[in-house]
Amino acid sequence: MAQVRLASIGKTYEGATANTIRGLDLEVQDGEFLVLVGPSGCGKSTTLRMIAGLEEPTEGAIWIGNRRVDGLEPRERDIAMVFQNYALYPHMTVAQNMSFGLRLAKVPKPEIRRRVEAAAETLGLSALLGRHPKALSGGQRQRVAMGRAIVREPGVFLFDEPLSNLDAQLRGQMRAEIRRLHDRLSATTVYVTHDQVEAMTLADRVVVLKDGRIEQQGTPQELYDRPATRFVAGFLGSPQMNFLAGEVRQGALDLGAGLVLALPPGHALAEGRKLDVGIRPEAFAVAAPGAAILSPRADLVELLGATSLVHFSHADQPCTALVPPAQAPRAGAVIGLTLAPDRISLFDAETGRAV
């Protein structure tokens, strides 16, 4: 088990005009499950690879436990990594794949056997130890890749988008397995994904990266409820948060097309200030007769089973509301909606930062 600390890390690839990572400071606590999330090219995989030792930072320092590790080979860092494409050695059996690192470290054979068998048992791979990767399904390969990491008993586990090659159903299963495994091993884990559902469900703490910088970090609930920027608000949550252009007028929030909301409690904003108003789809509720604050026409209604998504436009801006299927209108029908002012997020229209 170990703490990971990144101090003012920067990374510029050879020949690149811009920095991939800029002045990144990050601490992962001992036993914490930290998820780095962000869109493609935000630098999350580069950060992970720098912790692993597969890339060297161009500036800053990396500490694992009490040791400064930048400049050290991966094998000297007490880490294990699970790759997006599994990276299993095609010519080796499952057992050989899992034990390769231990054999190189000259761990005694009985100990290797013990660790491989224990990891195989944990991951349900005991019957597959003699098979080659090509004879395994995607989920089984993923388990072998995890087994290869587990047998090394590392201080830090690194996961680089490990579920992105699996189908949706298997992804859900594996997500739960990874979390269970972490709870059981209590190992420090850094997990990279672009999937916000994985980030929300797995993490103790989520770090949202954008353009090589930390946009916001906190628990999944904090980030969901109090996004620091419009980017974070839009990135986390499915279906995505709605954004409507608004303006402060006479101490209230004018969202156009006749929709005026009271400012959320604690907000005293200058008259005429332009804002982006963030509304989660579930913040809308179907209004009782006569109580609707907006009555749009549903463009499209999608039944998701437990809920329905109602797509509509407000002042020519696309909007989505999440409502119980029993209350969902037919496409083309008018629906009366309400919205509580304390369930909206306000962002400065120019900077995108939360107000």
Binding site: G53, E73, P74, R75, Y89, F100, L104
Partner: protein, 283 residues
């Protein structure tokens, strides 16, 4: 119906062309093998008029083979050729695979220039390099040695090109995983990379063997002593310069020299054609 007919016609046309091509390549070989079993006098007597007798011995004899093995040192030449070809295959595989690994997987300044320079040597015809090569090899005191016969060819630009392409197709995650597992460059190369490029290695081995076994000009120049002669040179020089060649023995020698290659090709032709397709280069 019309479509089916035109399709059948197309298949028939292509088949006829293929048969013609096969005949073009196969007929001379058949003629060589057949003549190796004919007495010297009947060889050219059967050429005209062209008939089945031209390609099949009416009364096969082993006389040509008997005199070939008794009178010449062809067995020794075969052994020399086998040693040179095997060693050249082994050394080419070691050298080219290591160079290809370095050029594809180790980042260093100027790697692209190095690769381009190596490939440039591929464009030079052997004839143009013959004199400087002779000077270098004989300057090293390696003329009239088996090592001298093989040494200029073990660093094969073709081999490097072929293996570099195969190495580039391997996912880089494999090496990253090996690094995480604690493997250095040599261990990664031996335990992870090489086992996954078996087919290209086998292909390069075959092509190199073929090239080495059939080489004539360079062995003729660098290895003139009879005890280190290679098979192609031995066949060409079996008669004395003042005598007319004994064609029966020549054909028997050519058959003996070709036999190992044909067997090898039949056994491993899948890899051979695969390699040619991979490299996009004709052998």
């Amino acid at each position: 119906m019309t479509e089916n007919r035109s399709r059948s016609r197309r298949v028939l046309g292509v088949s006829l062309i293929l048969v013609a091509i096969v005949l073009c390549f196969f007929t001379p070989f058949l003629w060589i093998v057949s003549n190796s079993f004919k007495p010297q006098l009947t060889i050219f007597a059967d050429v005209t008029p062209l008939s089945w007798k031209t390609f099949l011995p009416v009364h096969p004899v082993l006389e040509n083979y008997r005199t070939l093995f008794a009178r010449t040192n062809i067995l020794h030449a075969l052994l020399n050729t086998a040693i040179v070809s095997a060693a050249q295959v082994a050394l080419t595989l070691v050298l080219c695979s290591m160079a290809a690994y370095a050029l594809t997987r180790i980042r260093f300044r100027g790697s692209k220039v190095v690769f381009a320079l190596i490939l440039l040597t591929f464009l030079l015809p052997v004839e143009a390099m013959l004199v400087p090569l002779y000077q270098v090899v004989s300057g090293l005191g390696l003329d009239n040695t088996l090592l001298g016969v093989m040494i200029p060819w073990i660093a094969s630009p073709f081999g490097l090109f072929l293996l570099k392409q195969s190495f580039e197709e391997l996912p880089r995650d494999l090496e990253d995983a090996a690094r995480i597992d604690g493997a250095g460059h040599l261990r990664t190369f031996v335990s992870v990379i090489l086992p996954n490029v078996k087919v290209p290695l086998l292909t390069l081995g075959l092509v190199t063997f073929l090239f080495s076994w059939n080489s004539f000009l360079w062995p003729l120049v660098i290895a003139q002593a009879p005890e280190i002669q290679l098979i192609q040179v031995a066949i060409a020089q079996q008669g004395s310069p003042t005598q007319l060649p004994n064609w029966g023995e020549t054909f028997a020698g050519a058959t003996v020299a070709t036999l190992p290659l044909i067997l090898l090709f039949l056994l491993l032709q899948k890899y051979f054609t695969q390699g040619m397709a991979m490299s996009g280069i004709k052998g």
